[in-house]
């Protein structure tokens, strides 16, 4: 199994192909559209993270000492971001997750888009992921 750092690097490598924000946007929409929908039974208020303009449902689980995440959103872009986060975080060891700096968000130039902090719940999502991992 790849380490968290390795998956981060893969994403960074992927993104070097994109020259501008439009290309990145299209790619994120693409992977957002590919992310499987979350089972409706998890789309409940307890698992919901409220952003200002979109909702995210995050389901966390643990198996054999590793943490797994599934998630969904009404925004395809946010789903794309989730897909990236899941790629990096899901299936990793609790320690890795808790300590993840997630530098890739900066490196691939998404920080600016994520910085509309209150427009999407990404920061809260990362917090929830870490909280779950810390409790596991």
């Amino acid at each position: 199994m790849k380490s968290l750092a390795e998956t981060e690097q893969e994403i960074i490598d992927d993104f070097t192909f994109f020259e501008n924000w439009e290309d990145k946007y299209n790619y994120i929409i693409e992977i957002g559209q590919q992310l499987p929908s979350l089972n409706d039974k998890y789309k409940i208020d307890e698992l919901r993270i409220q952003g200002c303009q979109s909702s995210v449902w995050l389901h966390c689980s643990e198996k054999d000492g590793r943490i797994y995440f599934e998630a969904d959103s009404d925004s395809v872009f946010v789903k794309g971001e989730i897909a990236l986060l899941i790629k990096v975080m899901s299936g990793k060891l609790p320690d890795e997750i808790v300590n993840a700096k997630l530098g890739f968000i900066d490196t691939i130039g998404l920080r600016q888009q994520l910085s509309m902090t209150r427009a999407n719940g990404l920061a809260s999502m990362i917090r929830r992921m870490k909280q779950f991992a810390a409790g596991a």
Binding site: Y25, Q53, D74, Q113
Partner: protein
């Protein structure tokens, strides 16, 4: 307004106007900015920006009690803006013009001070179903405090106010009506003059939320006969941090002060404090001097143009955009009132509003998405939000073309899904 009598702006005129707005010269991701977020805030002409620089470089000083040159110059410039505002909205006297922080503060001031003076348990306040949160929450807070009841005039599917309902809602307990002139999420222009006359027949005063209309209509408070009016400088080409509360003298004189502090008093002692005359009684503490002065420049700028023609042109932009947007697959326009101002709210089937807003952003097009601080409107239409394009006279037909082509692409992108 009819096409026969009013000439629209020519392309040359528009491009001369655009040259005065430095932000419009920006490129976003290498693409020319298309700024369609004017209902959120307007861009500023050079003259406004320059008047800030001039103030801070040449005569920055605190006002009113200063006997030195800079202070006198600043006080004069500040007080002249009161006269400019008076003239702009055709108020009777400049002492009916109170400077505030913005529309929101103006409405809070009235809700609190009017509430204290006139509202008691069981009284009623009327607003409409299309109000901005800034014209809902202050009244909710006041009504809760005073155990009064907030009543709401409903709207129809086109986003029009059911004015007949006002008559049914008005009663002897009604203390005040507060209603928006132009809806910021639907573009609806409300028949405020008629509503005011209707309320006055019952001797109920009316506050007009003119946040959107101040830049897009020629306002005459005398003709409207409104009791209060609230608007913000930043939506009419002026700086952020300044707004106006217009109130008829009889009301200003009847209202208790809102905030206490320097400048709003005539004498302070621990036993007894007496308040200054209007409008100063409502301007506690150091005012936003520089921005008030620059706000004056934005009024000068607007007055220097032929506003009738500007507004006619803005209507043309709206009509053109409304027509062309129908070419976009899956389009749904929210707000189809017969009287509309330059605001176009819509959704695209299968596309989340924020996702589409972000796509437009990749194309250098700035629109706003979300509930636009009018959640009750969104609840009424059972939607989480809209995409909103809002126009000002510096926008162009070719910007609308760019916008429509981008929307078509976005529609395809999310149609795949």
């Amino acid at each position: 307004m009819t096409a026969e009598t009013i000439r629209s702006l020519t392309n040359e005129e528009i491009s001369l106007i655009r040259k005065e707005f430095p932000v419009l010269q920006q490129k976003i991701y290498g693409k020319p900015l298309v700024y369609f977020d004017n209902a959120a805030t307007a861009q500023k002409p050079d003259a406004v920006i320059k008047s800030l620089t001039e103030f801070y470089s040449e005569y920055n000083s605190n006002i009113h009690r200063g006997v030195h040159f800079l202070s006198q110059k600043a006080s004069d410039a500040y007080e002249q803006v009161r006269e400019k505002v008076r003239n702009f909205i055709h108020a009777e006297s400049e002492s009916e013009v109170v400077f505030t922080r913005g529309t929101t503060e103006s409405i809070n001031l009235v809700a609190q001070s009017f509430g204290k003076a006139f509202v008691t348990e069981g009284d009623e306040v009327i607003i409409s179903a299309m109000e901005h949160h800034s014209n809902i929450v202050p009244w909710q807070m006041m009504c809760e405090e005073r155990k009064a009841v907030l009543r709401v005039i409903p709207i129809n599917e086109k986003g029009e106010l059911l004015t007949d309902e006002l008559e049914k809602t008005l009663n002897s307990k009604t203390k005040i009506i507060s209603v928006v002139h132009i809806s910021n999420s639907l573009g609806t222009v409300n028949p405020v003059k008629k509503l005011i006359a209707q309320a006055h027949r019952r001797e109920v005063p009316v506050l007009i939320d003119a946040a959107q209309s101040i830049a897009h209509e020629q306002i005459d408070v005398n003709d409207l006969d409104c009791d209060f009016m609230a608007f913000s400088s930043h939506k009419m080409l002026g700086p952020t941090g300044v707004g106006v509360l217009y109130a008829k003298r009889k009301w200003l004189e009847a209202l208790p002060p809102y905030q206490g502090g320097g400048d709003m008093i005539s004498g302070v002692s621990f036993e007894k404090t007496t308040y200054n005359e209007i409008p100063f009684r409502f301007e506690a503490g150091t005012q936003n001097i520089a921005d008030v002065i620059a706000f004056g420049t934005s009024i000068d700028y607007l007055q220097s143009l032929d506003r009738k023609r500007l507004l006619f042109y803005e209507h043309q932009l709206l009509s053109y955009a409304t027509e062309r947007i129908k070419e976009v697959e899956g389009i749904r326009i929210i707000g189809t009132a017969s009287e509309k101002s330059g605001i176009l709210s819509f959704l695209i089937k299968g596309g989340n509003a924020m996702d589409i807003g972000m796509y437009l952003d990749t194309q250098g097009i700035a629109v706003r998405t979300g509930h636009h601080c009018t959640q009750p409107v969104m609840n009424f239409f059972k939607i989480p939000g809209t995409i909103r394009a809002s126009f000002l006279f510096y926008n162009t037909i070719s910007e609308i073309d760019i916008f429509i082509e981008a929307l078509k692409k976005a529609a395809r992108l999310f149609h795949k899904k």
